[in-house]
């Protein structure tokens, strides 16, 4: 099959078809030469656009693959001094590449010559097939964590939440983080049945040490309460306020202040 102009929109329903389109820009009178599909899916296409414009041969074989297999993209161009394929950039006049796309894809080739520009495209259809179901998602996204120690699991899978100045409210952003944290914590507590965790409340260096101990305590408490609402067992979470006694950084900048206004979760020793 062979079509002129805008071929990319034409093929989604024709799963076994490789289309090759050649556009001879500015040429209305010449029809491209159609080439029928071969039995092996190899559809060599030759176009001579006439008027000295570049001639393109652009194929992919096989034209249909199962997801995870590869196909070979081949091209041969004459009469051009610059040739590019959209996903690769500039290429030589003749060449081939192995491709392994995840979904059906149309490749576009553009050949620029002194007399004008020709384009061609070819589509590789990818069948999703019937892959096996992946294991259930765990707190770390499904990678193998059985070898990690409790402190490593806690450090890698539980994220800090941050607070506004002089505040202990759980912001919308913090709610998202804590929701993911709760999933991770429940998984960790299942894997380590004797473990308990400590929710630390921290503050920036502004304000008195005494007040910040109280503020950090509220940050730790509101963080714990949010996690408990999401099903984390309260008896396995303790809180401690470090006020401004254990800052992550000590610069007098808003960035550093913001990093220190946090709740941080660690494994109880």
């Amino acid at each position: 099959m062979f079509k002129r102009m805008k071929p990319a929109a034409l093929w989604p329903h024709l799963s076994a078809v490789v289309a090759i389109a050649v556009l001879a820009a500015g040429c209305g009178g010449k029809k491209p030469i159609p080439i029928g599909p071969g039995s092996g899916g190899n559809i060599p296409t030759t176009t001579n656009a006439g008027n000295g414009k570049p001639t393109i041969e652009f194929t992919v074989e096989p034209s249909t693959i199962d997801r995870g297999s590869s196909a070979t993209l081949k091209w041969s161009v004459s009469g051009a001094n610059y040739i590019s394929i959209d996903v690769f950039g500039a290429v030589q006049a003749t060449g081939s590449r192995n491709v392994t796309p995840y979904d059906t894809i149309t490749y576009h080739l553009k050949a620029e010559g002194t007399a004008g520009t020709s384009t061609a495209e070819t589509t590789l259809t990818v069948n999703p097939g019937n892959p096996a179901v992946p294991p259930p998602v765990t707190g770390d996204g499904g990678s193998n964590v059985s070898h990690l120690s409790l402190p490593d699991r806690v450090a890698q899978q539980i994220k800090d939440v941050f607070f506004a100045y002089d505040q202990n409210d759980i912001s919308g952003e913090a709610q998202g983080i804590l929701t993911a944290d709760a999933t991770a914590i429940k998984s960790i507590l299942q894997d380590f049945p004797n473990a308990s965790l400590i929710v630390e409340g921290h503050c920036d260096e502004r304000g008195s040490a005494e007040y910040n101990l109280g503020l950090g305590d509220r940050r730790a408490t509101s963080t714990k309460e949010f996690l408990v609402q999401l099903g984390v067992p309260a008896g396995r979470l303790r809180t401690v306020s470090y006020g401004k006694e254990r800052p992550q950084c000590t610069e007098a900048t808003e960035d550093c202040y913001a990093r220190n206004r946090r709740a941080h979760i660690t494994a109880a020793p």
């Binding site: 002089d166 260096e205 502004r206 008195s208 101990l213 109280g214 306020s241």
Partner: protein, 447 residues
């Protein structure tokens, strides 16, 4: 007492103006005491025999004690006559060389009082013979004569110098700082521990060895106990300690994630503190062993730093976020009658009562950025206030000395947190610490 103490400082210290940010009617502390300011000459004491090597420490300590008392105009030693009396027997009716009191009373010395004496090694003990005379008196009979005993080393020399200075200051109605102790937090070992030092920065001594976080020291009115907050058992909790021996004493902490901000009642029988047992740090009072605790404040805000008024034990100052950013409040020790002392601008914290029960020191960011504290002094009856430090780093944690005229505080003006003292008019600024970060000083009587 008048609501505004009209200050008649005759100190000729030019630095005063620098520390002033004048309010229409400032709060002031009377520095010079009643009856005008005596001018004092103090000879360089010499030691007989083995006592001489420690006399440099002795003379430095004696002069510093007398000078920092703020009571005297100290006469520069360069103006002294060539000869100095060492005992009353040395005094003559007239000499022109320094052995007559008239030589000290007249120009250029113009001293109203002369302190003199000597030390000796007597059977391995350092003995100080100290005298104080009025220079224009018709008699050479000393106003003060006393013997003092100390060990024959620099520590003993400083001890007898402190005692002699205290007796001289007492002659003028002043309370000496000699023997008083400053307790503070230092990070110099790598962990925050509680330390003590003499009021002049000597004798710095580590009291806790928890290698954890030990902060917020408070000292009992008699100086024999300190309370502080430790993370040694995980969560911050209050520890009570004998200040002389360093031995911990039983204190019951409520089952809470936070027990902090301890302070002693004026009679030393109660501990006021802040606990999060209700979910938010609130103020409680308990017996000295932590038992019989009772909740005082009842708000949804963080409330810390309860400080009971030394003259009105039913009143306390505290700091709270109950109306937004932290401010200093005053209220009854049963939780009622709460009034906001600071006007809501910036953030205010660290209240410390003067022994007069009227003047409150505190840290305030008024006029500066968040976290940029300076030391302020408020007359709590009129709410008039005066700014004692300005702009040079953060200045926090003010604490009155037992004499009610000096204060210690933390300042970052040198780039690191260090402890300083000064008179309440901003003069006599002294830096006491140099190593590590040093903060949260409290000034107590000697133990």
């Amino acid at each position: 007492m008048k609501k505004i103490i009209v200050l008649t400082i005759t100190l000729t210290l030019g630095s005063l103006a620098m520390f002033r940010m004048l309010h229409a009617q400032d709060a002031k502390i009377n520095i010079s005491g009643p009856g005008g300011q005596p001018s004092l000459a103090v000879i360089d004491f010499r030691g007989a025999g083995a006592a001489q090597p420690v006399m440099s420490a002795f003379n430095g300590t004696l002069f510093t004690d007398l000078q920092t008392s703020g009571i005297f105009k100290m006469v520069a030693k360069s103006l002294y006559p060539l000869q100095n009396p060492q005992r009353p027997e040395d005094l003559r009716p007239s000499s022109g060389q320094g052995l007559a009191l008239a030589d000290w009373a007249g120009s250029p010395v113009n001293a109203s009082h002369l302190a003199y004496g000597y030390t000796a090694d007597q059977n391995g003990t350092l003995v100080l013979y100290g005298y104080l005379n009025v220079t224009n008196a018709p008699t050479s009979q000393p106003l003060l004569y006393k013997r003092y005993f100390g060990s024959l080393d620099e520590g003993g020399a400083r001890k007898v110098a402190h005692e002699f200075a205290a007796d001289i200051i007492a002659q003028f109605g002043g309370a000496s700082l000699a023997g008083t102790k400053i307790y503070f937090v230092s990070s110099r070992t790598g962990a925050k521990e509680i330390w003590s030092m003499d009021y002049d920065g000597s004798n710095q001594k580590q009291l806790t060895f928890n290698r954890s976080i030990d902060i917020e020291p408070a000292v009992s009115p008699d100086g024999t106990k300190i309370a502080y907050v430790s993370f040694a058992k995980g969560t911050p909790h209050i520890v009570l300690m004998d200040s002389a021996s360093g031995r911990t004493m039983p204190f019951y902490n409520q089952q809470a994630s936070l027990n902090s901000s301890p302070s002693f009642s004026p009679d030393g029988s109660k501990i006021y503190y802040s606990s999060s047992v209700s979910g938010t740090a609130q103020i409680y009072v308990a017996d000295l062993d932590g038992r019989n605790f009772r909740r005082i404040s009842n708000s949804r805000a963080v409330e810390v730093e309860p400080k009971v008024n030394p003259k009105s034990p039913n009143l306390m100052a505290f700091s709270s976020g109950r109306s937004g950013p932290e401010q200093v409040y005053e209220g009854s020790t049963d939780g009622g009658d709460v009034q906001q002392l600071t006007d809501g601008t910036g953030e205010a914290s660290n209240p410390s009562w003067n022994p007069d029960g009227l003047h409150l020191l505190y840290a305030w960011t008024r006029g500066y950025a968040q976290g940029a504290f300076n030391i302020f002094l408020m007359d709590t009856a009129t709410r008039h206030y005066d700014q004692l430090t300005s702009g040079a780093g953060r200045n926090e944690n003010p604490s009155w000395a037992p004499d009610g005229r000096h204060l210690c505080f933390m300042s970052t003006r040198t780039g690191s947190a260090q402890i300083w003292t000064m008179l309440a008019d901003g003069s006599q600024l002294q830096r006491l610490t140099t190593t590590g970060q040093n903060l949260s000083p409290v000034w107590g009587k000697g133990n």
